[in-house]
């Protein structure tokens, strides 16, 4: 017998086994992807049922997305993209810099820094939401108020322990010889970093990039405390008020919900391999 799995399902080829597999697999796809498919169809559908989704379009329309424009949905979407764009750029830069130091240098206090990184990962951000809002309103030493600014939503996601640790693990694998030879040629720290180390880390950049994107896009509590006025809202936090608005109607809510879901789904589908790799390494690191 040749096993390719624990249950050995692939070895059973009788009609009953095939039927069983079809039912199980179809059921899984329906349960996990079905609701999202229902949303996709309904958002483009003309006749809307507030109690249910349509899984087959009656009449195709873009009307919901046009109406969404009147309700500032595209402003919220723009805000979301500003935050995720600059936030991700900052997060990736901060991570590769920190990882370079942790993976390639030896210095006193390194184990303490590693401990700090791990500690930040154990500390759920929900817990510090209230003091964080006070810190953001009056940054210690700087005396700046970040409430109601993009910076208030971008800077707090700039350093993320997970992506620093994933990057550090990867950089440890880059052969030392390349770096040494660049150094002997007289290349400075920054040049060695940008011309030798960073290009070799491209696969890991994909991993931390796609994880960072979904992490920042999914932020809820942070924009909620940073953006009290609706003109700074990101799309996820705007959904709740769109629903509460009686005049808006279901169509706009469905369109906005779809727009809030699509970017991270597209990012996942485009970087699936990197996502799976980060998932297992992240889970193992805890």
């Amino acid at each position: 017998m040749k096993f390719d799995s624990a249950l050995g399902l692939e070895m059973r080829r009788g009609p009953l086994a095939v039927l069983f597999k079809i039912v199980i697999y179809a059921g899984m796809v329906l349960i996990f992807a079905g609701p999202l498919f229902g949303l996709l169809v309904s958002a483009f559908n003309k006749t809307l049922d507030p109690t249910s989704f349509s899984f087959w379009p009656d009449e195709f329309t873009l009307d919901n997305f046009v109406q969404a424009g009147n309700r500032n949905v595209y402003l919220y979407l723009f805000n979301s993209f500003v935050v995720v764009g600059f936030g991700l750029l900052l997060q990736v830069l901060v991570s590769v810099f920190a990882a370079y130091s942790l993976a390639r240098k030896k210095f006193k206090g390194m184990s303490l820094v590693m401990l700090i990184m791990l500690a930040t990962m154990m500390l759920p951000e929900e817990i510090i939401a209230i003091p964080l809002s006070l810190v953001l309103a009056d940054m210690p030493l700087l005396n700046v108020n970040l409430i109601g600014t993009y910076a208030g939503m971008i800077l707090p996601v700039g350093a993320w322990g997970f992506s620093i640790l994933v990057m550090t693990e990867f950089m440890k694998e880059v052969p030392v010889e390349l770096e040494e030879s660049a150094r002997l040629d007289g290349a400075g720290e920054l040049r060695t970093f940008f011309t030798i180390i960073l290009p070799l880390c491209r696969p890991a950049l994909g991993v931390i990039g796609v994880f960072g994107f979904t992490m920042i896009w999914d932020q809820y509590l942070l924009p909620l405390i940073v953006a009290p006025e609706s003109d700074m809202w990101t799309l996820p936090i705007a959904l709740r008020s769109l629903r509460g608005d009686e005049e808006v109607g279901l169509g706009v809510l469905l369109a906005a919900t779809l727009l809030a879901l699509l970017p991270s789904i597209i990012a996942f589908l485009a970087f699936q391999k990197q996502f799976m790799r980060g998932l297992t390494s992240g889970a193992v690191k805890g």
Binding site: L7, E126, A260, L279, T280
Partner: protein, 308 residues
Amino acid sequence: MTPTLTRAKSRSAASHQSPRMARWRGPLVAWAFLAPALVLFLYFKFIPMITGLVMSFQEIRYIDTTWVGFDNYAAILSDDAFLTAIWHSAVLAIGTTVGSLLLGFCFALLIEGPAKYLWFIRTAAFLPVVTTMAAVAEVWRIMYYPGDTGLLNTILGWVALGPQPFLASEDTSLLSIMGMSIWRGTPYDMMVFLAGLVGIDRTLYEASAVDGASVWRRLRHITLPALRPVFWILFTLAAIRGLRVFVEVYVLTNGGPNGSSEVLMTLIYKLGFQSGELGIASAGGIVLFAATLVLTVGVQLMRRRQAA
């Protein structure tokens, strides 16, 4: 130490710096590269954490702050609303964790294998994990529509079950939130279990099949022991995620109806941002932090004892 020394030597040979400079350069460069991360962590993790800890011992009225010792903690632990919220958080965390782990494990077993079409099923099944929580909650709110025309009630109707009120009733609101959380947590656990399953030595399965062991025995004696570390990691992660749950509840019910789904985080949010009870809200945050800490350390200790 050796790599640092050789690196420092080659460096000073190249640029003719004094040995003293070269000795300081290495650590200095290292700290410079770390600085952005450390500054951001300091401002947005550690200062808020310490501020929260200090505030939890204070009563804060606008600019008037008085030190009240453990009064805030005493107020929490004697307040029915808080105790109920802690209970709800715990129920939600346990239910979501156990549900996602069990379902995730079963699904992982069912879709393990090298066939190409399984890749498609895995991708489709994984979608809930990457979706934005707030948006997914809107989707589920519509599916949970309490009338008998609601999507889930229609499906329940097919199997001859009466319509459920779901989020609208005090009896079922917490369970309904749990249902959505399990839906979103299961594929994550499934994928991590799958990665663990791939690592199990195939010859063990073959040997046990030759010995005539049943599928059940094969699972119990080969698969489950091999997955034990994965299981504990997933358990800790899911339990912490469950304890700190906020967005799911805030969007679906905001704690209602009548406080039946109020969890610790939604209560803290209301106290802190709506009632201005900053001291008590901060103490609530510290209690939650202590709970996650106890949970993590407890699981680690249990694992170590099992391994010994």
